[in-house]
């Protein structure tokens, strides 16, 4: 099976067309009194990084752009949830950021594009020749116009503690049965098999995404985004049921809905849990915090090794109401450069959605593997889908509540899948 960007774009457009019918506001032309360059100041809003050191490093790195261009970049941050609630309001008021980093899915950047809150930057692509992967560029394209630079690429899979596996004589799981057998062995040793926290809810979306994608492949999941196939299908029920079964058998921490993401990661870093199903964004923290070697594999399928779930993180967009579009585009040109891409790989452990030469990169073996895995994105390899960036907020809520519900016994897997379909139909 092949990653099919056109299908993704079609699905995204479908959701967008049904979700948004609002009037658009006309993008403002650059009315800045100050020409782009010396003396211009722009505001860049990004999601709050989990690591304060990463933010400082980023600001220091942006200072090189400021020095070179004479454009002052005021970097501001907001927690993800807060940003989700205030970004639209800020942009609509005209007092928002000039440049903002946001997700590229239908319920993220897509909704803002449809509302006319994002500037068309197709000309900038032509002028500067940014080498963004086509499949990623399609995620920020609407009505033939390009509106942003897709964010970093991520995969979601299963990290495991190699030392524990060696000590317990466990081989790398090549199927779901292997994973169950490995988890049983780990549990018998007194450790937590899978460090799963699902207190916040969003983690449940990743759990469902990886189990479903590995089971049915990317095309089948894509057909659910487009509505050709129902969320209320045996495969989705089975994916919910898998995590219920793991929880019932004691393969997850006690009461995973009481465990937040940070606690789940610390269980893994501290060696109290042997595996953690999560995304490649954790590699940096694993390198920094874990005193053991980690392996990283796709979440196994019932009949084989499965596939990585892939996705795109947040990337920069330009506000439609900015009066400093030229300066904003200059800044985007810096963010889209290969130099900046290499810097993010080495310093933030994120992978830009463009070709990056691996020679001379100083990265850990684990991150080098992730780089190799994500490079297959552009080669048409089969990657599963992170559901939550591709569906509406209502479907996401049903999915998050559904996964929490099956873990606590509030819902059956059948009811959780049915709720997702009901939300998709609204």
């Amino acid at each position: 099976m092949r990653l099919s960007p056109s299908r993704i774009a079609a699905a995204a457009a479908c959701v967008l067309l049904t979700a948004c019918t609002g009037q658009t506001i006309e993008p403002t032309q650059d009315k800045s009194d100050a020409p782009a360059g010396k003396g211009t100041s722009i505001r860049w809003l990004i999601e709050e990084p989990e690591d304060a050191a990463a933010l400082k490093a980023l600001k220091d790195h942006v200072a090189t752009f400021e020095k070179q261009s004479g454009i002052k970049v005021e970097t501001t941050t907001l927690p993800f949830d807060t940003m989700r609630t205030v970004l639209q309001t800020q942009l609509r008021s005209g007092e928002g950021p000039d440049v903002f980093n946001w997700g590229s899915g239908p319920s993220f950047g897509g909704a803002l594009i449809e509302a006319g809150l994002v500037a068309d930057i197709s000309d900038a692509y032509d002028k500067h020749g940014w080498k963004i992967y086509d499949f990623a560029k399609e995620r920020v394209t609407a009505n033939g116009k390009v509106y942003g630079i897709p964010g970093e690429m991520e995969t979601i899979g299963l990290f495991y503690n190699k030392d524990v596996f060696t000590k317990l004589g466990i081989q790398e799981p090549k199927s779901l049965d292997d994973l169950r057998a490995a988890a049983d062995k780990v549990r018998a040793s007194g450790m937590v098999p899978l460090a799963v926290g699902n207190k916040e809810g969003w983690e449940g979306g990743h759990l469902l995404s990886m189990a479903l994608s590995s089971d049915v492949g990317s095309e089948s999941v894509e057909s659910m985004f487009g509505g050709e196939k129902s969320w209320n299908s045996p495969e989705v029920v089975s994916a919910f049921g898998l995590w219920k079964d793991f929880n019932d058998k004691g393969l997850l921490p006690k009461s995973p809905t009481s465990v937040d993401y940070d606690t789940s990661t610390s269980l893994y870093f501290s060696g109290k849990a042997a595996m953690i199903p999560t995304g490649s964004w954790l590699v940096g923290e694993i390198d920094d915090n874990a005193k053991f070697e980690s392996g990283y594999i796709p979440f196994p399928a019932p009949d084989g090794p499965g596939i990585f779930t892939g996705g795109l993180g947040s990337g920069p967009f330009v506000s439609a109401t900015t009066k400093k579009k030229d300066a904003a585009i200059q800044f985007l040109n810096f963010l889209a450069s290969e130099d900046h891409g290499r810097w993010t790989v080495e310093n933030l452990h994120t992978i830009p959605a463009q070709p990056i030469k691996a020679e001379g990169l100083e990265v850990s073996p684990l991150f080098a593997q992730v780089l190799q895995d994500t490079a297959k994105f552009s080669e048409g390899g089969d990657f599963g889908h992170n559901i939550d960036v591709m569906v509406s907020d209502a479907v996401n809520k049903a999915m998050y509540d559904g996964m929490q519900g099956v873990m606590t016994g509030q819902r059956t897997p059948e009811a959780a899948a049915a709720a997702m379909e009901k939300a998709a139909k609204k």
Binding site: R84, Q88, P253, K254, S255, P256, T257, S258, G409, R411
Partner: protein
């Protein structure tokens, strides 16, 4: 008021007029009723418990000469802490594997009682409510203690000489003298029960799967997570409409008692 009659998603500057659709949908929404039920539990438990505990503590400290300031500070401190900080710290206490509560239960041989307090739908609401009671108790304590300072001690001594036991002295002598203040505190805690949001949002986010959602958190989710600003606004309006009569009744009761000469 305009937004409850339209269907505003936060983006569309000209939202369609839907009349009373938001109200009819709200009435038929099972999640609203589940959240309302949690509000009722919160209003009852979150009003009665801090009042009883705060009054009890105030009576214990009332006649203390030494250490009175320290006690007042210690019991009032939780009330002045930010709800977010309280929520975060108590979330650590309730954490299933490393939290103090489960560890304490295991230490005293009650390991079978341990659970994921905030992740178990049977205990989550009560765990958050317990935290809220702990935080509100100090406020009730300080206000009631201040009122007790003005209670006529001669009347209390006289009733003791007449053979009244502690419960009778509280009911017939002390409470009537502090009743207006008591009603004022009850009003504030009661209204807080309608509008509760922050501590639940921080500790559980309304989860697991809506088990701790109250009308406030459900309104927030509808408005800002599902972009149904109008539906969230309608819920917020309902919360206000429900709270106002209680506030008016309690306020009138307090005035009536004051005019009757009750109070210290």
């Amino acid at each position: 008021m305009y937004y409850v009659f339209v269907d505003f998603d936060g983006l569309d500057p000209s939202p369609p007029w839907v009349g009373f659709s938001n109200f009819t949908e709200l009435a038929a929404d099972p999640d609203v009723w589940a959240a309302f039920k949690n509000n009722v539990i919160w209003i009852v438990g979150g009003t009665i418990s801090p009042l009883v505990l705060g009054l009890g503590l105030a009576l214990l400290v009332w006649k203390l000469e030494r250490g009175s300031v320290w006690y007042r500070m210690a019991f009032f401190l939780p009330y002045v802490l930010p709800p977010v900080a309280i929520g975060v710290v108590w979330s650590w206490i309730y954490e299933p594997s490393r939290g103090w509560l489960n560890r304490a239960l295991e230490a005293v041989g009650l390991g079978s009682w341990t659970t994921g307090w905030l992740g178990n739908p049977s205990t989550a609401l009560y765990a958050v409510l317990g935290t809220a009671i702990w935080a509100a108790m100090g406020f009730v304590f300080v206000i009631i203690l201040a009122a007790l300072r003005n209670v006529n001690a001669d009347l209390v001594d006289a009733s003791r000489l007449d053979g009244a036991n502690a419960a009778q002295r509280l009911r017939y002598v002390i409470l009537p003298q502090i009743m207006p203040v008591f009603i004022m505190v009850a009003t504030l805690t009661l209204i807080g029960g309608f509008s509760v949001f922050d501590i639940i949002f921080v500790m559980t986010g309304g989860g697991p799967a809506g088990a701790t959602d109250v009308l406030g958190t459900y309104a927030y989710k509808s408005a800002f997570q599902l972009n149904r600003i109008s539906y969230g606004t309608t819920l917020a309006l309902i919360i206000t409409v429900m709270a106002v009569p209680f506030a008016i009744v309690m306020n009138r009761l307090q005035r009536k008692l004051s005019l009757q000469g009750m109070g210290a």
